[in-house]
Amino acid sequence: MPTPYNGARMPTSPRRRGGSLGQLVALGTAVLLVLGLGACGDKKERVTVGLIVKRNTNPFWVTMKDTAQDTANDDNVKLLTAAGTSDIDNQSQVAAIRRMTKEGAKGILISPANSKAIVPAIERARRAGVTVIAVDTPTKPRSAVDALYATNNLEAGKLIGRYAKAKADQRGIKPQIAMLDLAPGITSGDLRHRGFLAGFGIKDGDPRIVGSADTLGETIKAEDAMRRLLRKHPGINVVYTVNEPAAFGAAQALKAAGRSQDDVILVSVDGGCDAIKNGVRPGVIDATAQQYPENMARLGVDTLADAARGGKKPSGYRNTGVEIITGDAAKGVPSKDVAFGVRNCWG
């Protein structure tokens, strides 16, 4: 018989032998109760909400749609979705409004492909009792919808204008500015342009602006435009771009002209993942104003569901946020680092 302990007393058996199973069951139950605490919320009434975006392929809209779906799942909302076949496909959006109204949507989020042409369809839906919120892009007139949830493009432009000015001052350079715009008459592009100038502290016609070009926000057009501007003004050292594809085009032209990225302050707007990781992080783009399509979707779905359940009806304009993302902060200009930009980029 083995000696269990060397000079030690055998442990006595527990005093109580009964109830062992009960104790373990109690233990398990307590664990489940505590871990499950708060897991059961109130079951909200199921409502239907629609989301109509411009295209299904653009990462900006994909992010918006994914966030809307996640929010809908969490909030017991049935989400109907639709998209146009191009950025100017008004007909598909009109048809989608009609279909969603018929299917019982109590609210619709829409990013109009044509700010004016979509208005009659929206008005019909509103007359049928549907609450409509424009996201990202306003309607013309803005009052055609109940509310607008969008980035403040003027503020976005101002932020990068302030950043560019602060950096120019810091480096002690005499600014020679190139403006790579969107196209005439497009609200978001106009607002960003005006915002940049305001942030930099100049106005259109200022001699420091040595050249400008419309790029439609496309890389190739921006590259061509930048090459032309550099031929005329090889000393360009500040470049404003209306969006990040245009910024990449400008960067390619600058590189082809033998300009170091350290010599030129290149700023942009949008905050897509590709631009943050491959533009801002390596310093190709000095700073970009990041916008948040997920805020538009989350706020929009939540607000419409709440209104459908008898809550407050949305109205007015809601800024969905904008932040400067940079790897090289400028003194006096609030900004977020690249890590923040990567965590919250879209696409």
């Binding site: 000696t3 302990y5 690249v338």
Partner: protein, 499 residues
């Protein structure tokens, strides 16, 4: 039959080369286990051992030692001890959960309080600082009042730590959480010190190893559950960062409260489990046997002098410091790398830490096999070098490849703690116990290096912070190389306490 004191154990059944096959931290072969061993060894170092439930031989046996005599026939536990043993197993799982849930907390607190990486890494400073600080007090409690009291004290303190999360979550401040974590870790440190010998005491000596192995097997299970709790209950439900940008002050405060409630739930769960175990153990009135006195009878000054003059030992302590530091750094910042560098959504980032732990567990078993085939320091060198390479990939690639490299570092970490432990103590003879205490107190690396990495991440960038584990593992590799190039032959390693 006379049993030799643990420090005087001859080669053979007490000096087994195989690395323990149990899992992750907290009772496994790594930091917390280190803390456990630190406490146990510290108790012996300061000559406190008076009473124990453990026969010296059983206490000395590593979890993966050779099959004990008659193990196939002996009962696993004494009659009536089935439920207490199951409860003790729950303790092993509970501290594994708490330890690895803490890794998740580093990122969670950064998110909730919008703080820097350095500040959030103070979570690990509090946790490992408590483990380090409590090593000797834990030993004193066990010595003076016995292991059962040690277990109850540890459970009680850890429960209190878990409960302290409640007021902390209401105060909406970071500091109270650090206090709660410190108390929780202090309790777990005492619990670990007492639970292993307590498990051994619950049955016949013949099945002691089997019992200890079974109990320790639940530690990695708990560790994985800890990360799972974070990945499922906390991370996916946090308020999205962009949403906070457009909140009013009141909305922001409400979202903070909601997020801190998410943190509260798993800790209250752990506290509830520990409290129930405390009650059941306390109410059962188990008696424990007295421990045989183990005094080495040697003046400590001479021992310290001998240890300090032993380069294998001295460098081994440093290597262990950097190994534990590297491990805690990597696991603390895996989620941040996924978020900040790759842009993985918060809801999915926790799964990469989970993958790290599973890889660590798998590598543990693999290394147990390979350690029987190759010289341990050769494997240590190769895996440390691999770890350096992987950490540098994480620094320079800055994409999903870097993230995979971060996860893969856990493979190289798998054998380090027990191997360094064994190599550093090799040939110390009667000085082994003293040496073990200093060696495992190198857990301090887990408290000091993460804040350093956090600082670099804040100043330079998230990927660049991984230069800290890269350098740490390079120093571990240097230690392995030192051993390989020394004239000392790689004989049997000491594994006592290295689980």
């Amino acid at each position: 039959m006379e049993y030799p004191a643990a420090g005087k154990l001859p080669p053979g059944p007490f000096a087994v080369r195989s690395a323990p096959a149990d899992g992750t931290r907290g009772g496994g072969p790594i930091p917390e286990s280190g803390a456990r061993s630190a406490s146990a060894s510290a108790r012996e170092v300061i000559g406190l051992a008076r009473e124990s439930v453990v026969p010296p031989q059983a206490a000395a046996q590593p979890a993966t030692t050779a099959k004990p005599q008659g193990a196939g026939r002996a009962r696993l536990v004494y009659p009536g001890f089935t439920v207490p043993f199951i409860l003790l197993i729950c303790c092993f799982a509970a501290w594994g959960s708490a330890a690895n849930l803490t890794d998740v907390l580093v990122g969670v607190f950064r998110h909730i309080f919008t703080m820097s990486n350095f500040e959030s890494a103070l979570v690990q400073f509090a946790y490992y600082g408590a483990y380090f600080s409590l090593a000797i007090p834990a030993a004193m409690i066990n010595r003076k009042y016995g292991y059962k009291t040690g277990v109850l004290t540890g459970l009680g303190l850890a429960t209190l730590g878990g409960v302290l999360f409640f007021p902390a979550s209401r105060m909406l401040e970071f500091a109270p959480f650090l206090v709660a974590l410190f108390v929780l870790a202090a309790g777990l440190s005492i619990l670990e010190t007492s639970a292993n010998p307590f498990a051994i005491a619950m049955g016949p000596e013949e099945s002691a190893t089997q019992r200890l192995n079974l109990a320790q097997a639940f530690n990695p299970v708990g560790a994985n559950i800890g990360v799972l709790l974070g990945a499922v209950l906390i991370l996916p439900n946090l308020t999205p960062e962009p949403a906070k940008l457009i909140m009013t002050h009141d909305q922001l405060r409400a979202s903070q409260e909601a997020d801190l409630n998410l943190v509260l739930r798993p800790y209250l769960g752990i506290a509830a489990v520990l409290a129930l175990i405390w009650l059941m153990i306390a109410l059962r009135g188990m008696k424990t046997p007295a421990e045989a006195t183990q005094e080495t009878g040697e003046a400590r000054g001479g021992v310290f002098g001998r240890l300090w003059s032993n380069r294998h030992y001295r460098y081994g302590v440093a290597a262990q410091f950097f190994n534990v530091g590297a491990q805690v750094c990597v696991w603390s910042f895996t989620i941040q790398y996924a978020l900040d560098v790759v842009g993985v959504p918060t809801s999915k980032a926790g799964w990469f830490l989970q993958a790290s732990l599973l890889l660590f567990l798998f590598a543990r078993f693999l290394m147990t096999y390979l350690l029987g085939k190759f010289r341990p320091t050769l494997l240590l060198f190769l895996l440390a070098a691999l770890g350096v390479g992987l950490a540098l990939i994480a620094v320079f690639t800055q994409n999903v490849v870097g993230l995979i490299a971060v996860v893969a570092i856990s493979f190289s970490l798998s054998l380090m703690f027990p191997t360094i432990y064994g190599v550093a103590l090799q040939g110390l003879g009667e000085d082994t116990k003293f040496g073990a205490a200093g060696l495992v107190m190198a857990i301090l690396g887990g408290a000091l290096l993460p804040p350093l990495q956090g600082k670099i991440m804040d100043q330079v960038g998230t990927p660049q912070g991984f230069i800290v584990p890269a350098i740490s593992l390079a120093l571990v590799a240097a230690y392995a190389l030192f051993d390989l190039r020394s004239k000392r032959h790689g004989g049997p390693l000491v594994t006592e306490g290295a689980h």
